[in-house]
Protein backbone atom coordinates (compact mmCIF):
# COMPACT_ATOMS: atom_id res chain seq x y z
CA UNK A 1 0.00 0.00 0.00
CA UNK A 2 1.49 3.29 -1.03
CA UNK A 3 1.56 5.62 1.90
CA UNK A 4 2.13 8.71 -0.15
CA UNK A 5 0.14 11.71 0.85
CA UNK A 6 0.39 14.89 -1.06
CA UNK A 7 0.83 18.02 0.96
CA UNK A 8 -2.54 19.77 0.93
CA UNK A 9 -2.57 21.81 -2.24
CA UNK A 10 -3.39 25.31 -1.14
CA UNK A 11 -5.46 27.11 -3.68
CA UNK A 12 -3.38 29.84 -5.22
CA UNK A 13 -6.23 32.28 -5.68
CA UNK A 14 -6.26 33.79 -9.13
CA UNK A 15 -3.67 31.64 -10.86
CA UNK A 16 -3.54 31.97 -14.65
CA UNK A 17 -5.95 29.43 -16.14
CA UNK A 18 -4.04 26.47 -17.57
CA UNK A 19 -4.99 24.98 -20.92
CA UNK A 20 -7.88 22.51 -20.89
CA UNK A 21 -6.70 19.24 -19.42
CA UNK A 22 -7.36 16.27 -21.69
CA UNK A 23 -7.62 13.81 -18.83
CA UNK A 24 -10.01 16.02 -16.89
CA UNK A 25 -13.69 15.16 -16.70
CA UNK A 26 -14.63 18.34 -14.88
CA UNK A 27 -12.74 21.60 -14.56
CA UNK A 28 -13.73 24.73 -12.70
CA UNK A 29 -11.41 27.69 -13.31
CA UNK A 30 -11.54 30.85 -11.19
CA UNK A 31 -15.26 30.41 -10.83
CA UNK A 32 -17.32 33.03 -9.02
CA UNK A 33 -21.01 32.53 -8.41
CA UNK A 34 -23.15 35.33 -7.04
CA UNK A 35 -26.82 35.32 -6.18
CA UNK A 36 -29.16 38.26 -6.04
CA UNK A 37 -31.18 38.13 -2.84
CA UNK A 38 -34.90 39.06 -2.93
CA UNK A 39 -34.11 42.48 -1.43
CA UNK A 40 -31.70 43.18 -4.29
CA UNK A 41 -28.33 42.55 -2.59
CA UNK A 42 -25.62 40.45 -4.15
CA UNK A 43 -24.50 37.35 -2.27
CA UNK A 44 -21.33 35.46 -3.19
CA UNK A 45 -21.55 31.68 -2.85
CA UNK A 46 -18.30 30.72 -4.60
CA UNK A 47 -15.11 32.75 -5.13
CA UNK A 48 -11.84 31.95 -6.93
CA UNK A 49 -12.98 28.37 -7.18
CA UNK A 50 -10.59 25.94 -8.87
CA UNK A 51 -11.22 22.24 -9.08
CA UNK A 52 -10.28 19.45 -11.45
CA UNK A 53 -11.81 15.99 -11.45
CA UNK A 54 -9.98 13.38 -13.51
CA UNK A 55 -11.83 10.84 -15.65
CA UNK A 56 -13.02 7.89 -13.64
CA UNK A 57 -12.11 9.55 -10.38
CA UNK A 58 -14.31 9.62 -7.27
CA UNK A 59 -14.05 13.03 -5.64
CA UNK A 60 -15.74 14.09 -2.45
CA UNK A 61 -16.39 17.69 -1.47
CA UNK A 62 -16.72 18.51 2.22
CA UNK A 63 -17.31 21.85 3.84
CA UNK A 64 -19.35 23.58 6.50
CA UNK A 65 -23.13 23.67 6.15
CA UNK A 66 -24.39 26.24 3.67
CA UNK A 67 -20.95 27.15 2.33
CA UNK A 68 -21.83 26.60 -1.33
CA UNK A 69 -21.02 22.92 -1.85
CA UNK A 70 -24.20 22.26 -3.77
CA UNK A 71 -23.67 25.34 -5.93
CA UNK A 72 -20.62 23.69 -7.52
CA UNK A 73 -22.81 20.78 -8.60
CA UNK A 74 -25.51 22.96 -10.14
CA UNK A 75 -22.79 24.75 -12.14
CA UNK A 76 -21.34 21.49 -13.46
CA UNK A 77 -24.83 20.13 -14.20
CA UNK A 78 -25.68 23.21 -16.25
CA UNK A 79 -28.61 24.09 -13.99
CA UNK A 80 -26.89 27.41 -13.23
CA UNK A 81 -24.18 29.54 -14.86
CA UNK A 82 -21.05 30.93 -13.22
CA UNK A 83 -20.97 34.71 -12.73
CA UNK A 84 -17.28 34.69 -13.62
CA UNK A 85 -14.76 32.05 -14.65
CA UNK A 86 -15.20 28.89 -16.63
CA UNK A 87 -16.74 25.46 -16.09
CA UNK A 88 -15.68 22.71 -18.51
CA UNK A 89 -17.05 19.20 -18.78
CA UNK A 90 -15.12 16.62 -20.81
CA UNK A 91 -13.00 19.44 -22.23
CA UNK A 92 -15.87 21.60 -23.48
CA UNK A 93 -17.47 24.58 -21.75
CA UNK A 94 -20.82 23.82 -20.11
CA UNK A 95 -23.74 25.09 -22.16
CA UNK A 96 -27.03 23.88 -20.77
CA UNK A 97 -27.73 20.43 -19.41
CA UNK A 98 -25.28 17.80 -20.64
CA UNK A 99 -26.82 14.38 -21.37
CA UNK A 100 -23.67 12.67 -20.09
CA UNK A 101 -24.34 13.91 -16.57
CA UNK A 102 -26.32 12.16 -13.87
CA UNK A 103 -27.48 13.90 -10.68
CA UNK A 104 -28.65 12.36 -7.42
CA UNK A 105 -30.45 14.85 -5.20
CA UNK A 106 -30.43 15.26 -1.46
CA UNK A 107 -34.20 15.22 -1.15
CA UNK A 108 -36.44 12.64 -2.70
CA UNK A 109 -36.63 13.42 -6.38
CA UNK A 110 -38.48 10.28 -7.46
CA UNK A 111 -41.79 11.09 -9.12
CA UNK A 112 -44.47 10.21 -6.55
CA UNK A 113 -47.15 9.57 -9.20
CA UNK A 114 -45.03 7.01 -11.04
CA UNK A 115 -44.36 3.49 -9.81
CA UNK A 116 -40.81 2.18 -9.50
CA UNK A 117 -40.66 0.90 -13.07
CA UNK A 118 -42.01 4.13 -14.56
CA UNK A 119 -39.61 6.15 -12.43
CA UNK A 120 -36.58 4.20 -13.57
CA UNK A 121 -37.65 4.14 -17.22
CA UNK A 122 -38.28 7.90 -17.26
CA UNK A 123 -34.79 8.89 -18.41
CA UNK A 124 -34.55 6.59 -21.45
CA UNK A 125 -38.10 7.53 -22.49
CA UNK A 126 -37.35 11.27 -22.15
CA UNK A 127 -34.35 10.64 -24.38
CA UNK A 128 -36.53 9.00 -27.02
CA UNK A 129 -35.51 5.35 -26.65
CA UNK A 130 -38.01 2.77 -27.95
CA UNK A 131 -40.38 1.81 -25.16
CA UNK A 132 -39.80 -1.94 -25.15
CA UNK A 133 -36.01 -1.71 -24.98
CA UNK A 134 -36.25 0.99 -22.32
CA UNK A 135 -38.54 -1.15 -20.17
CA UNK A 136 -36.21 -4.14 -20.43
CA UNK A 137 -33.29 -1.96 -19.43
CA UNK A 138 -35.28 -0.51 -16.52
CA UNK A 139 -36.16 -3.98 -15.20
CA UNK A 140 -32.48 -4.90 -15.39
CA UNK A 141 -31.49 -1.82 -13.36
CA UNK A 142 -34.24 -2.38 -10.81
CA UNK A 143 -32.81 -5.85 -10.32
CA UNK A 144 -29.28 -4.51 -10.01
CA UNK A 145 -30.20 -2.11 -7.23
CA UNK A 146 -32.00 -4.95 -5.44
CA UNK A 147 -35.61 -3.85 -5.98
CA UNK A 148 -36.81 -6.79 -8.11
CA UNK A 149 -40.45 -7.46 -7.25
CA UNK A 150 -41.14 -3.82 -6.37
CA UNK A 151 -41.72 -2.61 -9.96
CA UNK A 152 -45.37 -1.75 -9.33
CA UNK A 153 -44.85 -0.07 -5.96
CA UNK A 154 -45.24 3.69 -5.63
CA UNK A 155 -42.54 5.70 -3.84
CA UNK A 156 -44.74 6.33 -0.79
CA UNK A 157 -44.95 2.56 -0.29
CA UNK A 158 -41.16 2.26 -0.04
CA UNK A 159 -38.69 3.03 2.74
CA UNK A 160 -36.23 5.93 2.45
CA UNK A 161 -33.39 3.58 1.54
CA UNK A 162 -35.47 1.89 -1.15
CA UNK A 163 -36.43 5.26 -2.60
CA UNK A 164 -32.72 6.09 -2.80
CA UNK A 165 -32.19 2.83 -4.68
CA UNK A 166 -34.86 3.96 -7.14
CA UNK A 167 -33.04 7.29 -7.51
CA UNK A 168 -29.75 5.47 -8.15
CA UNK A 169 -31.30 3.18 -10.78
CA UNK A 170 -33.02 6.21 -12.35
CA UNK A 171 -29.64 7.93 -12.69
CA UNK A 172 -27.44 4.96 -13.59
CA UNK A 173 -29.78 3.72 -16.33
CA UNK A 174 -28.73 6.72 -18.46
CA UNK A 175 -25.12 5.53 -18.26
CA UNK A 176 -23.74 8.86 -17.01
CA UNK A 177 -20.06 9.57 -17.58
CA UNK A 178 -20.22 12.15 -14.83
CA UNK A 179 -22.14 11.54 -11.66
CA UNK A 180 -22.99 14.44 -9.38
CA UNK A 181 -24.30 13.60 -5.94
CA UNK A 182 -25.64 16.23 -3.56
CA UNK A 183 -25.59 14.76 -0.04
CA UNK A 184 -27.60 11.84 -1.40
CA UNK A 185 -27.62 9.76 1.77
CA UNK A 186 -27.91 12.50 4.39
CA UNK A 187 -31.60 11.83 5.05
CA UNK A 188 -31.04 8.12 5.73
CA UNK A 189 -30.40 6.48 9.08
CA UNK A 190 -26.80 5.46 9.77
CA UNK A 191 -27.13 1.73 9.00
CA UNK A 192 -28.99 2.30 5.75
CA UNK A 193 -26.49 4.97 4.81
CA UNK A 194 -23.55 2.56 5.13
CA UNK A 195 -25.41 -0.03 3.03
CA UNK A 196 -26.16 2.53 0.36
CA UNK A 197 -22.53 3.70 0.32
CA UNK A 198 -21.48 0.13 -0.41
CA UNK A 199 -24.15 -0.11 -3.09
CA UNK A 200 -22.90 3.09 -4.70
CA UNK A 201 -19.27 1.93 -4.74
CA UNK A 202 -20.34 -1.33 -6.34
CA UNK A 203 -22.33 0.43 -9.09
CA UNK A 204 -19.52 2.95 -9.62
CA UNK A 205 -16.82 0.26 -9.92
CA UNK A 206 -18.87 -1.44 -12.66
CA UNK A 207 -18.78 1.70 -14.83
CA UNK A 208 -16.25 4.41 -15.57
CA UNK A 209 -18.08 7.43 -14.24
CA UNK A 210 -16.30 10.39 -12.69
CA UNK A 211 -18.03 11.29 -9.46
CA UNK A 212 -18.39 14.48 -7.45
CA UNK A 213 -19.94 13.57 -4.13
CA UNK A 214 -20.92 16.49 -1.92
CA UNK A 215 -21.34 15.69 1.76
CA UNK A 216 -20.98 17.26 5.17
CA UNK A 217 -19.94 13.89 6.60
CA UNK A 218 -16.14 13.64 6.54
CA UNK A 219 -16.09 9.88 7.27
CA UNK A 220 -18.41 9.28 4.33
CA UNK A 221 -16.13 11.35 2.10
CA UNK A 222 -13.01 9.41 3.11
CA UNK A 223 -14.73 6.02 2.89
CA UNK A 224 -15.87 6.64 -0.68
CA UNK A 225 -13.47 8.96 -2.44
CA UNK A 226 -10.08 8.96 -4.20
CA UNK A 227 -9.67 12.62 -3.33
CA UNK A 228 -11.34 14.87 -0.81
CA UNK A 229 -11.76 18.62 -1.41
CA UNK A 230 -12.14 20.69 1.74
CA UNK A 231 -13.98 23.97 1.20
CA UNK A 232 -13.79 27.12 3.29
CA UNK A 233 -16.75 28.71 5.01
CA UNK A 234 -18.87 30.68 2.52
CA UNK A 235 -18.10 32.25 0.11
CA UNK A 236 -16.51 28.90 -0.61
CA UNK A 237 -13.18 28.25 -2.21
CA UNK A 238 -11.02 25.13 -2.12
CA UNK A 239 -8.99 25.14 1.07
CA UNK A 240 -7.13 21.88 0.59
CA UNK A 241 -7.18 18.66 -1.42
CA UNK A 242 -6.29 15.27 0.11
CA UNK A 243 -5.47 12.04 -1.69
CA UNK A 244 -7.18 9.10 -0.05
CA UNK A 245 -4.79 6.20 -0.53
CA UNK A 246 -7.00 3.54 1.00
CA UNK A 247 -7.05 0.27 -0.96
CA UNK A 248 -9.98 -0.62 -3.23
CA UNK A 249 -12.33 -2.38 -3.33
CA UNK A 250 -13.43 -0.95 -0.01
CA UNK A 251 -15.98 -2.34 2.40
CA UNK A 252 -17.70 0.80 3.67
CA UNK A 253 -18.83 -0.79 6.92
CA UNK A 254 -15.26 -1.78 7.87
CA UNK A 255 -13.00 0.76 6.23
CA UNK A 256 -13.49 3.20 9.08
CA UNK A 257 -11.47 0.93 11.40
CA UNK A 258 -8.52 0.96 9.04
CA UNK A 259 -5.56 2.74 10.77
CA UNK A 260 -4.93 4.85 7.68
CA UNK A 261 -8.58 5.92 7.68
CA UNK A 262 -8.31 7.14 11.25
CA UNK A 263 -5.12 8.99 10.43
CA UNK A 264 -6.63 10.69 7.38
CA UNK A 265 -9.79 11.52 9.24
CA UNK A 266 -7.79 13.27 11.99
CA UNK A 267 -5.67 15.25 9.53
CA UNK A 268 -8.55 16.43 7.38
CA UNK A 269 -10.72 17.24 10.38
CA UNK A 270 -8.02 19.66 11.63
CA UNK A 271 -8.53 21.59 8.42
CA UNK A 272 -12.28 21.30 8.29
CA UNK A 273 -12.85 22.18 11.95
CA UNK A 274 -11.65 25.78 11.58
CA UNK A 275 -14.08 26.38 8.73
CA UNK A 276 -16.94 24.75 10.56
CA UNK A 277 -16.26 27.01 13.56
CA UNK A 278 -16.21 30.14 11.40
CA UNK A 279 -19.45 29.11 9.76
CA UNK A 280 -21.07 28.32 13.11
CA UNK A 281 -20.04 31.63 14.66
CA UNK A 282 -21.45 33.51 11.67
CA UNK A 283 -24.72 31.67 11.92
CA UNK A 284 -24.91 32.55 15.62
CA UNK A 285 -24.20 36.20 14.90
CA UNK A 286 -26.86 36.24 12.20
CA UNK A 287 -29.38 34.78 14.64
CA UNK A 288 -28.74 37.49 17.25
Amino acid sequence: MALMMREPARSMGRAPAPAADRAAAIELRNVVRRFVTPDGRSLTALRDFDMTVRRGEFCAVVGPTGCGKSTTLTLVAGLARPSEGEVRVMGAPVAGIDPRIGFVFQQDATFPWKNVLDNVVAGPLFRGQPKRAALDLAREWIRRVGLAGFEKHYPHQLSGGMRKRVALAQTFINGPEILLMDEPFSALDVQTRILMQGELLKLWSEGQASVVFVTHDLDEAIALADRVFVLTAGPATVKAVYDIDLPRPRVTSEIRYHPRFVELSKTIWQDLRDEVLISYQRAQKAAE
Binding site: A77, L79, I97, P99, I101, G102, F103, F105, Q107, D108, A109, F111, P112, W113, K114, N115, A122, G123, F126, R127, G146, L147, A148, G149, F150, Y154, P155, H156, Q157, S159, G161, M162, Q170, T171, N174, T192, L195
Partner: protein, 290 residues
Protein backbone atom coordinates in the same frame (compact mmCIF):
# COMPACT_ATOMS: atom_id res chain seq x y z
CA UNK B 1 -30.79 -7.96 -1.69
CA UNK B 2 -30.83 -8.94 1.95
CA UNK B 3 -32.25 -5.58 2.98
CA UNK B 4 -34.97 -5.72 0.38
CA UNK B 5 -36.19 -9.08 1.59
CA UNK B 6 -36.27 -8.03 5.20
CA UNK B 7 -38.22 -4.92 4.26
CA UNK B 8 -40.70 -7.01 2.38
CA UNK B 9 -41.23 -9.15 5.46
CA UNK B 10 -41.83 -6.21 7.73
CA UNK B 11 -44.34 -4.79 5.25
CA UNK B 12 -46.57 -7.84 5.27
CA UNK B 13 -46.76 -7.84 9.07
CA UNK B 14 -50.38 -7.97 10.24
CA UNK B 15 -51.96 -7.92 13.70
CA UNK B 16 -52.26 -11.29 15.41
CA UNK B 17 -55.40 -13.28 14.46
CA UNK B 18 -57.02 -12.92 17.90
CA UNK B 19 -57.08 -9.14 17.71
CA UNK B 20 -58.34 -8.95 14.11
CA UNK B 21 -62.03 -9.93 14.67
CA UNK B 22 -62.26 -7.60 17.66
CA UNK B 23 -61.08 -4.66 15.56
CA UNK B 24 -63.54 -5.60 12.82
CA UNK B 25 -66.41 -5.79 15.30
CA UNK B 26 -65.48 -2.45 16.78
CA UNK B 27 -65.42 -0.84 13.35
CA UNK B 28 -68.77 -2.37 12.46
CA UNK B 29 -70.36 -1.05 15.67
CA UNK B 30 -69.03 2.40 14.94
CA UNK B 31 -70.38 2.36 11.40
CA UNK B 32 -73.82 1.37 12.71
CA UNK B 33 -73.71 4.14 15.30
CA UNK B 34 -72.78 6.79 12.71
CA UNK B 35 -75.40 5.66 10.20
CA UNK B 36 -78.06 5.37 12.91
CA UNK B 37 -77.37 8.90 14.13
CA UNK B 38 -77.50 10.20 10.56
CA UNK B 39 -80.91 8.67 9.91
CA UNK B 40 -82.13 9.81 13.31
CA UNK B 41 -81.12 13.39 12.63
CA UNK B 42 -82.98 13.36 9.29
CA UNK B 43 -86.13 11.94 10.87
CA UNK B 44 -86.10 14.54 13.64
CA UNK B 45 -85.55 17.38 11.17
CA UNK B 46 -88.21 16.35 8.61
CA UNK B 47 -90.64 15.20 11.32
CA UNK B 48 -90.21 18.48 13.19
CA UNK B 49 -90.81 20.47 10.03
CA UNK B 50 -93.92 18.47 9.12
CA UNK B 51 -95.24 18.69 12.67
CA UNK B 52 -94.56 22.41 12.98
CA UNK B 53 -96.38 23.05 9.72
CA UNK B 54 -99.36 20.86 10.63
CA UNK B 55 -99.67 22.36 14.10
CA UNK B 56 -99.60 25.81 12.54
CA UNK B 57 -96.34 26.98 14.19
CA UNK B 58 -95.05 27.87 10.74
CA UNK B 59 -97.19 28.75 7.74
CA UNK B 60 -97.05 25.88 5.19
CA UNK B 61 -97.98 28.39 2.48
CA UNK B 62 -94.60 30.09 2.82
CA UNK B 63 -92.44 27.29 4.12
CA UNK B 64 -94.17 24.24 2.61
CA UNK B 65 -93.82 20.89 4.39
CA UNK B 66 -92.03 17.64 3.59
CA UNK B 67 -95.18 15.78 2.58
CA UNK B 68 -96.17 18.57 0.17
CA UNK B 69 -92.69 18.59 -1.35
CA UNK B 70 -92.74 14.81 -1.77
CA UNK B 71 -96.15 15.07 -3.39
CA UNK B 72 -94.89 17.77 -5.76
CA UNK B 73 -91.94 15.62 -6.85
CA UNK B 74 -94.30 12.63 -7.28
CA UNK B 75 -96.58 14.75 -9.44
CA UNK B 76 -93.69 16.03 -11.57
CA UNK B 77 -92.34 12.54 -12.07
CA UNK B 78 -95.71 11.00 -12.97
CA UNK B 79 -97.61 13.79 -14.68
CA UNK B 80 -94.81 16.04 -15.82
CA UNK B 81 -94.33 19.72 -15.10
CA UNK B 82 -96.14 22.68 -16.63
CA UNK B 83 -93.30 22.97 -19.17
CA UNK B 84 -92.94 19.29 -20.08
CA UNK B 85 -91.71 16.07 -18.48
CA UNK B 86 -89.38 16.42 -15.48
CA UNK B 87 -86.58 14.32 -16.99
CA UNK B 88 -86.45 16.73 -19.91
CA UNK B 89 -85.98 19.70 -17.57
CA UNK B 90 -83.24 17.84 -15.71
CA UNK B 91 -81.58 16.90 -18.98
CA UNK B 92 -81.57 20.47 -20.27
CA UNK B 93 -80.05 21.84 -17.08
CA UNK B 94 -77.59 18.98 -16.92
CA UNK B 95 -76.51 19.54 -20.52
CA UNK B 96 -75.89 23.22 -19.88
CA UNK B 97 -74.03 22.44 -16.68
CA UNK B 98 -71.81 19.71 -18.11
CA UNK B 99 -71.00 21.72 -21.24
CA UNK B 100 -70.16 24.80 -19.19
CA UNK B 101 -68.18 22.71 -16.72
CA UNK B 102 -66.11 20.99 -19.39
CA UNK B 103 -65.38 24.13 -21.40
CA UNK B 104 -64.60 26.15 -18.29
CA UNK B 105 -62.41 23.44 -16.78
CA UNK B 106 -60.42 22.84 -19.95
CA UNK B 107 -59.91 26.58 -20.51
CA UNK B 108 -59.00 27.04 -16.86
CA UNK B 109 -56.44 24.23 -16.91
CA UNK B 110 -54.89 25.41 -20.18
CA UNK B 111 -54.59 29.02 -19.04
CA UNK B 112 -53.45 28.04 -15.55
CA UNK B 113 -50.68 25.79 -16.85
CA UNK B 114 -49.60 28.32 -19.50
CA UNK B 115 -49.39 31.18 -17.02
CA UNK B 116 -47.90 29.00 -14.32
CA UNK B 117 -45.06 27.93 -16.61
CA UNK B 118 -44.35 31.40 -18.00
CA UNK B 119 -43.31 34.07 -15.51
CA UNK B 120 -43.71 37.00 -17.91
CA UNK B 121 -47.23 36.00 -18.94
CA UNK B 122 -48.11 35.51 -15.29
CA UNK B 123 -46.80 38.94 -14.28
CA UNK B 124 -48.63 40.67 -17.14
CA UNK B 125 -51.98 38.93 -16.78
CA UNK B 126 -52.19 38.53 -13.00
CA UNK B 127 -53.61 42.02 -12.44
CA UNK B 128 -56.40 41.56 -14.99
CA UNK B 129 -57.31 38.17 -13.67
CA UNK B 130 -57.56 39.62 -10.17
CA UNK B 131 -59.90 42.34 -11.45
CA UNK B 132 -62.01 39.90 -13.47
CA UNK B 133 -62.21 37.58 -10.49
CA UNK B 134 -63.54 40.33 -8.22
CA UNK B 135 -66.51 41.06 -10.51
CA UNK B 136 -69.67 39.34 -9.27
CA UNK B 137 -69.93 37.04 -12.24
CA UNK B 138 -73.60 36.16 -11.88
CA UNK B 139 -74.38 39.66 -13.16
CA UNK B 140 -72.81 38.64 -16.46
CA UNK B 141 -75.83 36.33 -16.84
CA UNK B 142 -77.95 39.33 -17.88
CA UNK B 143 -75.39 40.31 -20.53
CA UNK B 144 -75.33 36.76 -21.88
CA UNK B 145 -79.13 36.61 -22.06
CA UNK B 146 -79.13 39.86 -24.02
CA UNK B 147 -76.35 38.88 -26.40
CA UNK B 148 -76.81 35.10 -26.72
CA UNK B 149 -80.57 34.87 -26.35
CA UNK B 150 -82.88 32.66 -24.32
CA UNK B 151 -81.42 29.40 -25.61
CA UNK B 152 -78.76 27.13 -24.23
CA UNK B 153 -75.72 29.25 -25.22
CA UNK B 154 -76.31 31.97 -22.63
CA UNK B 155 -76.53 29.41 -19.77
CA UNK B 156 -73.43 27.56 -20.94
CA UNK B 157 -71.55 30.85 -21.14
CA UNK B 158 -72.51 31.77 -17.59
CA UNK B 159 -71.49 28.31 -16.33
CA UNK B 160 -68.15 28.62 -18.16
CA UNK B 161 -67.43 31.95 -16.51
CA UNK B 162 -68.35 30.54 -13.10
CA UNK B 163 -66.07 27.51 -13.53
CA UNK B 164 -63.13 29.07 -15.33
CA UNK B 165 -61.75 31.25 -12.54
CA UNK B 166 -61.88 28.56 -9.87
CA UNK B 167 -60.12 25.97 -12.03
CA UNK B 168 -57.69 28.52 -13.42
CA UNK B 169 -56.67 29.71 -9.96
CA UNK B 170 -56.01 26.20 -8.72
CA UNK B 171 -54.21 25.03 -11.85
CA UNK B 172 -51.98 28.11 -11.70
CA UNK B 173 -51.21 27.59 -8.02
CA UNK B 174 -50.62 23.86 -8.55
CA UNK B 175 -48.15 24.51 -11.35
CA UNK B 176 -46.34 27.11 -9.26
CA UNK B 177 -46.07 24.71 -6.32
CA UNK B 178 -44.51 21.94 -8.44
CA UNK B 179 -41.40 20.70 -6.66
CA UNK B 180 -38.30 22.40 -8.12
CA UNK B 181 -36.24 19.32 -7.35
CA UNK B 182 -38.53 17.10 -9.39
CA UNK B 183 -38.30 19.54 -12.30
CA UNK B 184 -34.50 19.67 -12.07
CA UNK B 185 -34.39 15.88 -11.86
CA UNK B 186 -36.55 15.48 -14.96
CA UNK B 187 -34.42 17.98 -16.89
CA UNK B 188 -31.21 16.16 -16.02
CA UNK B 189 -32.80 12.80 -16.89
CA UNK B 190 -33.28 14.29 -20.35
CA UNK B 191 -36.76 15.82 -20.40
CA UNK B 192 -37.45 18.64 -22.85
CA UNK B 193 -39.38 21.67 -21.68
CA UNK B 194 -42.61 20.16 -23.00
CA UNK B 195 -41.88 16.83 -21.35
CA UNK B 196 -41.28 18.64 -18.05
CA UNK B 197 -44.75 20.16 -18.37
CA UNK B 198 -46.53 16.92 -19.25
CA UNK B 199 -44.54 14.50 -17.08
CA UNK B 200 -43.88 16.59 -13.98
CA UNK B 201 -45.79 19.86 -13.77
CA UNK B 202 -49.27 18.66 -14.75
CA UNK B 203 -49.21 15.48 -12.63
CA UNK B 204 -48.08 17.42 -9.59
CA UNK B 205 -50.73 20.10 -10.20
CA UNK B 206 -53.38 17.42 -10.64
CA UNK B 207 -54.43 17.18 -7.00
CA UNK B 208 -54.96 20.96 -6.95
CA UNK B 209 -56.92 20.84 -10.20
CA UNK B 210 -59.16 18.01 -9.06
CA UNK B 211 -59.84 19.74 -5.77
CA UNK B 212 -61.13 22.68 -7.81
CA UNK B 213 -63.30 20.41 -9.98
CA UNK B 214 -65.28 19.36 -6.90
CA UNK B 215 -66.21 22.95 -6.14
CA UNK B 216 -66.60 24.09 -9.70
CA UNK B 217 -69.21 21.54 -10.76
CA UNK B 218 -71.44 23.12 -8.15
CA UNK B 219 -70.60 26.52 -9.61
CA UNK B 220 -71.47 25.32 -13.10
CA UNK B 221 -74.83 24.18 -11.81
CA UNK B 222 -75.41 27.57 -10.17
CA UNK B 223 -74.47 29.28 -13.45
CA UNK B 224 -76.89 27.18 -15.48
CA UNK B 225 -79.78 27.54 -13.02
CA UNK B 226 -79.32 31.28 -12.54
CA UNK B 227 -79.15 31.65 -16.31
CA UNK B 228 -82.44 29.79 -16.66
CA UNK B 229 -83.87 31.82 -13.85
CA UNK B 230 -83.02 35.06 -15.66
CA UNK B 231 -84.69 33.97 -18.85
CA UNK B 232 -85.27 30.67 -20.62
CA UNK B 233 -87.82 28.30 -22.10
CA UNK B 234 -86.76 25.11 -20.32
CA UNK B 235 -84.81 23.76 -17.37
CA UNK B 236 -84.96 23.49 -13.61
CA UNK B 237 -84.17 27.17 -13.17
CA UNK B 238 -87.35 28.02 -15.07
CA UNK B 239 -89.24 25.49 -12.92
CA UNK B 240 -88.09 27.41 -9.84
CA UNK B 241 -88.97 30.74 -11.42
CA UNK B 242 -92.46 29.45 -12.30
CA UNK B 243 -92.99 28.05 -8.81
CA UNK B 244 -91.89 31.36 -7.33
CA UNK B 245 -94.30 33.23 -9.62
CA UNK B 246 -97.23 31.13 -8.41
CA UNK B 247 -96.21 31.28 -4.73
CA UNK B 248 -95.63 27.53 -4.79
CA UNK B 249 -93.06 27.08 -1.99
CA UNK B 250 -93.24 23.29 -2.27
CA UNK B 251 -92.34 23.59 -5.94
CA UNK B 252 -89.19 25.62 -5.14
CA UNK B 253 -88.10 23.09 -2.54
CA UNK B 254 -88.85 20.18 -4.87
CA UNK B 255 -86.73 21.72 -7.62
CA UNK B 256 -83.98 22.26 -5.07
CA UNK B 257 -84.03 18.59 -4.12
CA UNK B 258 -83.87 17.53 -7.76
CA UNK B 259 -80.84 19.80 -8.19
CA UNK B 260 -79.21 18.39 -5.07
CA UNK B 261 -79.58 14.84 -6.39
CA UNK B 262 -77.97 15.86 -9.69
CA UNK B 263 -75.10 17.56 -7.84
CA UNK B 264 -74.53 14.56 -5.57
CA UNK B 265 -74.34 12.15 -8.51
CA UNK B 266 -71.87 14.45 -10.29
CA UNK B 267 -69.81 14.78 -7.12
CA UNK B 268 -69.49 11.02 -6.76
CA UNK B 269 -68.46 10.76 -10.43
CA UNK B 270 -65.70 13.32 -9.84
CA UNK B 271 -64.53 11.43 -6.76
CA UNK B 272 -64.37 8.31 -8.91
CA UNK B 273 -62.26 10.20 -11.45
CA UNK B 274 -60.04 11.48 -8.67
CA UNK B 275 -59.43 7.99 -7.30
CA UNK B 276 -58.39 6.65 -10.68
CA UNK B 277 -56.18 9.64 -11.54
CA UNK B 278 -54.46 10.03 -8.17
CA UNK B 279 -54.12 6.42 -7.13
CA UNK B 280 -50.46 7.00 -6.27
CA UNK B 281 -51.40 9.06 -3.23
CA UNK B 282 -50.81 7.40 0.15
CA UNK B 283 -54.00 5.97 1.63
CA UNK B 284 -55.29 7.39 4.91
CA UNK B 285 -54.46 5.01 7.73
CA UNK B 286 -57.40 5.60 10.04
CA UNK B 287 -60.49 6.17 7.96
CA UNK B 288 -63.26 7.76 9.93
CA UNK B 289 -66.79 8.73 8.96
CA UNK B 290 -67.53 7.53 5.46
Amino acid sequence: MATTQSLERSESRTPTPTIQPAIAAQMRRRRWLVNGLRVGLLVVFLGGWELAARLGWIDPFFFAMPSQIALQIWEWVNEGTSQGPLWQQVLVTLEETVLGFLIGAVLGILCGVALGRNRLLADVFSIYIKIANSIPRVVLGSIFIISLGLGMASKVALAVVMVFFVVFGNAFQGVREADRNLIANARILGASSRQVTTAVVIPSALSWIIASLHVSFGFALVGAVVGEFLGSRQGIGLLIATAQGTFNAAGVFAAMIVLAIVALIAESLITLLENTLIKWRPAQLAETGF
